[in-house]
Symmetry: C2
Subunit: 269 residues, 2 copies
DNA sequence: CAATCTTTGTGCACGCGTTCACAAAGGCAT
DNA sequence: ATGCCTTTGTGAACGCGTGCACAAAGATTG
């Protein structure tokens, strides 16, 4: 997965642990699938398997919601779907705006599942005047100048930022000033926002780098491990540390141009 | 951020805590920016601010790498960039394949930052025969039949799945069988993979749902809190629990069709 | 109606991650 | 050369999250 929440640990939301909240959508998805197959009840064991988690963890998670299971039987699928949906606030309508209609923004706009769970794309906004009026996903792109008006008129509280990194902070400030209090940020930047505003980040680059780290480890254990691996197992970083010249730096790394700092996680224009 | 890692807690990679690994790309980005501005050194305080974390946490993170800071001065930017890059395995070339060239897959293929940090798109793969040969991001899309050959010929170990949810599991199995050991999954499904394979998931829908949860809480605290909030503060779930009829279920929630279970986080086709 | 069997709900312990706070280290000025 | 001032590196405490393991609860069967 992507990176975790930024800023504002949100301590503990009304008694429901953050970790549990993050899993509820997972359970909901699995439950919805069961519901469509008209399965009446599920045991924690089955559902946990479907969601890819530990059954004890799942039971504990549900216990925070008030646990409506029946011992010896399991959980009522329909009822749980309702409970979780309500807890997540999915029983109401959430208008969202997408700012930055580049490659990624357009892809997001076309995302079908967007509308399904209570989320509705209220507007597509882009700073490029040439984009204004162009239909994307059956909806005309509007110019950034309209941002404030759109937010207020539609009562938007959730904004999606898919702009280049350079514009993200400013866009977030405008969104927040206009009333947005939750932001999903696809731009590769750390947004600094005031207290009370939630930001979640999705960053392809970071995900790949984390995978690369583990990938390198796997490879290192196999063959290359013997390369320079003098058993200096200080439990520390890596064996190569002793090989690297304390001054032989960035040559192989410091890449020219903008490494990726100026475009959102996904973006061409 | 998106959702966290799936399966395989990867215990603790060679002494570097997983949480630290997840932050290294963040530091690297901030350091790269400093490097481009030719800033020679940074203090943990400054860098931490740029990366949006606590300075003590940053220092501890760096201490796992072997800490190359100078007391009273700070860290050498260039050197740190190199160290982190090496630690993340970014000094080598990582060929990746993107499977599922729909809206999202295409957007990912066009992602500029992809190539910059050592990641190189080796191939674009799609199951639709009509897509075969079509150029996307200046590269011809290849048919799924070629998948195994492509993986092996290019020594690909990282795969990106951007297919509909229904195809994801099968695609992952083929990728893994062909030699892929790290997967970045954009499809809204839980992939079950064998030991040793790393999977990270990016799921727009889940992110939005988590934001909605917090958004609802914020709104609830303000006005609606008084609605049915009899001080039944059991520390449990929510006040509304007492309001919901124990049998009045899914009506408002169980949406028809496929809620979003069949398309990747972003995707039209 | 009683016994049995299944499955929930949770007390408890453990480990990771975060944060504080401070001693050690090193540069720099005098 | 000596002392001051800054900043690192880390010991220790704390809190969250996870998972085990089991008692309580209820359905089901005879």
């Amino acid at each position: 997965m992507a990176t975790g929440r930024t800023h504002r640990p949100a301590t503990r939301s009304r008694g429901i642990p953050e970790a549990t909240v993050a899993r509820l959508p997972l359970y909901l998805r699995a439950l919805t699938a069961l519901s469509e197959r008209s399965v009446p009840t599920v045991s924690s064991e089955e559902l946990a398997a479907a969601a890819g988690v530990n059954s004890a963890k799942l039971r504990k998670d549900f216990s925070y919601l008030g646990s409506y299971g029946t011992r010896g039987v399991g959980y009522d699928v329909e009822y749980l779907v309702y409970q979780i949906s309500r807890e997540l606030g999915l029983t109401q309508d959430w208008p969202v705006v997408i700012v930055g209609i580049g490659n990624l923004g357009a892809a997001l706009a076309n995302y079908g599942g967007f509308a399904s769970r209570g989320f509705r794309v209220a507007a597509l906004i882009d700073a490029d005047p040439a984009m204004a009026g162009k239909p994307v996903a059956g909806m005309p792109v509007q110019h950034t100048d309209e941002l404030e008006k759109i937010i207020e008129d539609n009562g938007v509280s959730i904004g999606v930022i898919a702009t280049p990194a350079g514009a993200a902070q400013q866009v977030s400030e405008r969104l927040i000033a206009a009333g947005v209090t939750s932001i999903l940020n696809f731009a590769p930047t750390v947004l600094s926002v005031p207290e009370g505003v939630d930001v979640r980040k999705v960053d392809l680059s970071i995900e790949l780098q984390i995978l690369a780290f583990h990938e390198q480890r796997k490879a290192g254990e196999g063959a290359a491990a013997a390369a320079a691996a003098e058993a200096s197992s200080v439990g520390g970083a890596a064996p190569a540390a002793a090989v690297v010249p304390p001054a032989g730096r960035a040559a192989a790394v410091a890449r020219k141009g903008n490494p990726e700092g100026d475009v959102p996680a996904v973006m061409p224009a």
